[in-house]
């Protein structure tokens, strides 16, 4: 089922959770790049589009990277 799922779901969060911290870092980089390009702070939507993630997943990754006591942290040490 896992296999099928990966093929079927275009909005699969699997890519994001592979390393949420890495994703959070990418989000910050993308934000900086877009700020330079647009001359203003980009919206979450713009960041999500640029990265090819859902915006809720952007929120999720940022929170995970911020919360040191969360599951995410312990799994990526």
């Amino acid at each position: 089922v896992g296999e099928i799922r990966r093929f079927l779901r275009d909005d699969s969060p699997v890519k994001v959770s592979r390393s949420l911290k890495e994703t959070a870092y990418k989000i910050q980089q993308t934000r900086d790049r877009l700020t330079a390009r647009l001359g203003r702070d980009p919206s979450i939507n713009e960041i999500a589009e640029e990265l090819g993630f859902g915006r809720e997943e952007v929120v999720n990754a940022l929170e995970a990277a911020q919360t040191p006591t969360s599951i995410y942290e312990t799994l990526h040490q």
Binding site: G54, E56, S70, I71, Y72
Partner: protein, 148 residues
């Protein structure tokens, strides 16, 4: 079973809220010290159940309400998704792999919910609505498990 924590989400039946429900339930469930693959399965199961409520239950009408209840027990997680939509006449048939009332769709939603759940229950009354209840054993790990 001992309830450790409980939440209810209630939201408008618009497709944008599928992702909202998925992330919210995952944030709630992450208190259970589940693994990332488990968290992924939770997200998929929630997406499928909430998507069904909106697409099938409410036939994409945007002014309805979907309810999601998540309960953390010492031994696992229960997720319940409720709609007050059209209901399902033949539940057994609906749950068959590849069965869909919509020729455009793949009919795999219940397959994913089943593969996630240790126990999956579907209650439905035509014209009244549908409740999908999924239970998954998820053990406590690390600090939390030691504290227990």
């Amino acid at each position: 079973m001992v309830i450790l924590n409980k939440c209810v989400l209630e939201f408008t039946s618009v497709p944008e809220n599928v992702a909202f429900a998925r992330v919210s339930v995952a944030a709630f469930a992450s208190q259970l010290d589940c693994t990332l693959p488990e968290l992924e399965e939770i997200k998929v199961a929630v997406s499928e159940a909430v998507g069904n409520a909106i697409i099938h239950g409410y036939r994409n009408k945007a002014d309805k309400t979907v309810r999601v209840l998540a309960t953390i027990y010492k031994e696992g997680l229960e997720i319940r998704v409720e709609d007050s939509g059209i209901g399902i006449t033949n539940i057994e048939m609906a749950m068959q792999p590849a069965y869909s009332t919509d020729p455009e769709r793949m009919g795999l939603g219940f397959v994913f919910m089943q593969s996630f759940s240790d126990r999956l229950q579907v209650d439905s009354t035509p014209g009244k609505g549908t409740t999908v209840t999924m239970y998954k054993r998820i053990g406590l790990r690390g600090a939390k498990a030691r504290a227990n």
